[in-house]
Amino acid sequence: MNRNDKGDIVLVIGIGNPSRQDDAVGYKLVNWLAEELGVEPLGEMLEPEDLTPPVSLVWVQQLLPELGEAMARCSLVVFCDAHTGVYEQDYLEGPVEPDYRTTLVSHHMNPETLLAMARDLYGHCPRGWRVSVRGYDFDFGDELSERTAGLARRALTAILGLVVSPDRPGA
């Protein structure tokens, strides 16, 4: 397990627009985790000094390069998001490796690129883990569709397992 001199910090990043129904999965997960863990979720901005062991929670509308500095202080970063057609599975979780990946636009970053930037700019690459569920409805609204809500509950259980025991087999 990767460690840094700040200790063992797990960072959970929920990604998505909370006003676009199933795109709010990341936002919902961060807030559910906060209730379960008794941790106050961080706002949209994440300063490295805001990180608190053993787990920190943050929501962002989209991944940004500024996250790299804080990520470099963590041992594990869990990325939570909704997906559409990019993956075949309805539910997906697995490791994320640092790698500069293609995107069409500069304001759309992916976890692989962010991990690579944490490594190359800030000297440490945390372990990365992706938890992604299928979204079915992205219209305006703040409730998850029934199918996505079910998948999100499964994601919550998985992430809780990760943050409680980051070294569990398969993590």
């Binding site: 901005m45 500024e66 500069y100 500069s106 759309h108 690129t113 190359d120 700019l121």
Partner: protein
């Protein structure tokens, strides 16, 4: 026989764009079109909404410069509400605006334009991007991220969110600035100036070393337009609107809320983006450019010391207006330096901590125009309401729109100079995109990528037969 090359997408979010290049039999470029084919509809679906919702609705036009729309909109709302915000509120709005300028201009130079300049137009697309800069010069990449973060943090401190903030309201702002937050912003200002001056040095060095390219790359004559304050000094938040001709002589200086008396819009059937022009000279003679190059061409000075010194160097480039498109990058950096220096000026003003931040309305006027200099040029929001304050008419002239003719012109000249239809290369595509990128339109996040941007160039005959294909990604 005319053949057509289509570059699609040049852009994706904030406006899909396509470049069509028409070739003759000899493989030389005959004509080009830069089409913007995305329809947003904000002007229409806002009708019937209460006017005071617009400062929250219109930032959704754009995820790149929402603050500009937020502030232009609230200035229009001020006039509908018949109020003048207190001076502290104006200072705070301008402070947020400077945060937007810092993050937008920094982002553009270091992340969007920088890879072309620092890695080369013909560099492998796989590395000709921000990832390439990270690997070639990680210290510079860190400074770029830090600059962007600094600007975003100003916006977040004032507006609670970095994107689509909540801050300005008709008559003022929603909350005052604390001394702690003022000190927090001030603490890093000098370091940000240092980073930007490093960027200025990089930009100037490249322009000097590549002067032959600079003079051949999208170099054309036009008028220029921008906001100024007293003595024709650079002004990004308020002020009068000044138009100059291609020789640098003043054509008009006017209250920007009277824009309809001075600016017309030409329409072409192949683009949803209109072509603004100066009414006094008609279309197309009255075309003009806005945004950093436009602004620095219309002003006579900048009222912050370091930016003004660099402005003098800029002016020394030419006896008249500075014209080659690649100088947009230099002008943009000078403005970024000004923005941080202006942040310091604002924060040193004793009124900035005042709690006198709102003027209440006594009745509605039925009409309001709000104008601001967005990073990409003059932004105009024009609203009319009924007696209840419900919108009956909305007209938006988005900053990028003013530069529509100029972007088409730049694409045309660059394509003619650098594109050879008989020997198509990816570097030629990139130069055409780079021409658009000079103008930092709201399309520009799509003309550059973190990694290799998937792109297909198809060369077809007039009957649609595919003759050649170049693709990447």
């Amino acid at each position: 026989m005319t053949e057509k090359i289509t570059i699609s997408p040049v852009t994706r979010v904030e406006g899909h764009g396509i470049v069509n290049i028409f070739m003759g039999d000899d493989g030389k470029v005959v004509d080009t079109h830069f089409n913007v084919n995305q329809f947003r509809g904000f002007e229409k679906f806002s009708e019937g909404r209460p006017f005071y919702e617009m400062p929250m609705i219109t930032p959704r036009i754009c995820g790149i410069c929402p603050v500009s729309h937020h502030l232009a909109s609230v200035k229009a709302c001020d006039r509908i509400a018949g109020v003048v915000p207190p001076r502290p509120a104006k200072l705070l709005r301008e402070l947020m605006h400077m945060g937007q300028m810092i993050q937008s201009h920094s982002m553009h130079f270091f992340h969007l334009a920088g890879p072309d300049l620092l890695l080369g137009f013909d560099a492998d697309p796989a590395i000709r991007n921000v990832a390439g800069i990270v690997q070639v010069n990680p210290e510079l990449a860190i400074k770029a991220v830090t600059l962007r973060k600094y600007g975003q943090e100003i916006i977040r401190i004032l507006g609670e969110k970095r994107v689509h903030p909540r801050f300005a309201v008709p008559g003022g702002v929603s909350h005052a600035l604390s001394a702690a937050d003022r000190d927090k912003i001030l603490a890093d200002a000098d370091t940000m100036i240092e980073y930007l001056m490093e960027g200025v040095a990089i930009g100037k060095a490249w322009l000097t070393e590549n002067i032959d390219v600079v003079e051949r790359f999208g170099n054309f004559r036009s008028g220029y337009m921008g906001l100024v304050h007293e003595g024709n000094a650079l002004e990004l938040y308020d002020g009068d609107c000044r138009l100059i001709d291609r020789e640098g002589a003043e054509l008009a200086k006017f209250d920007p809320t009277k824009y309809l008396d001075y600016i017309g819009e030409h329409v072409e059937d192949w683009s949803y983006l209109k072509f603004p022009f100066y009414l006094g000279m008609g279309w197309p003679e009255g075309v003009y450019r806005v945004a950093p190059l436009g602004r620095l061409n219309v002003v006579d000075r900048i009222d912050t010391p370091l930016a003004n010194e660099e402005f003098k160097n800029f002016k020394a480039i030419s006896d008249g207006p500075v014209e080659p498109s690649l100088y947009y990058h230099y002008a943009r950096l000078i403005e970024a330096v000004y923005a941080v220096e202006r942040v310091k000026q604002i924060l040193d003003d004793p009124d900035v901590l005042s709690t006198d931040i709102l003027t209440e309305s006594k009745g509605l006027t039925g009409h309001g125009v709000g104008v601001i200099e967005a990073p990409r040029g003059v932004l105009i929001h024009d609203y009319s309401t009924d007696e209840r304050g419900l919108l009956t008419r909305v007209n938006l002239i988005v900053a990028t729109g003013h530069n529509n003719w100029a972007m088409n012109k730049a694409v045309n000249l660059v394509a003619k100079e650098f594109v050879d239809g008989k020997n198509l290369t990816e570097g030629m595509l990139n130069r055409v995109e780079a021409a658009i990128r000079c103008y930092d339109p709201c399309l520009s996040c799509s003309t550059h990528a973190w990694g290799q941007m998937p792109l297909v160039l198809e060369l077809r005959s007039e009957d649609g037969t595919l003759l050649n294909t170049i693709s990447r990604g």
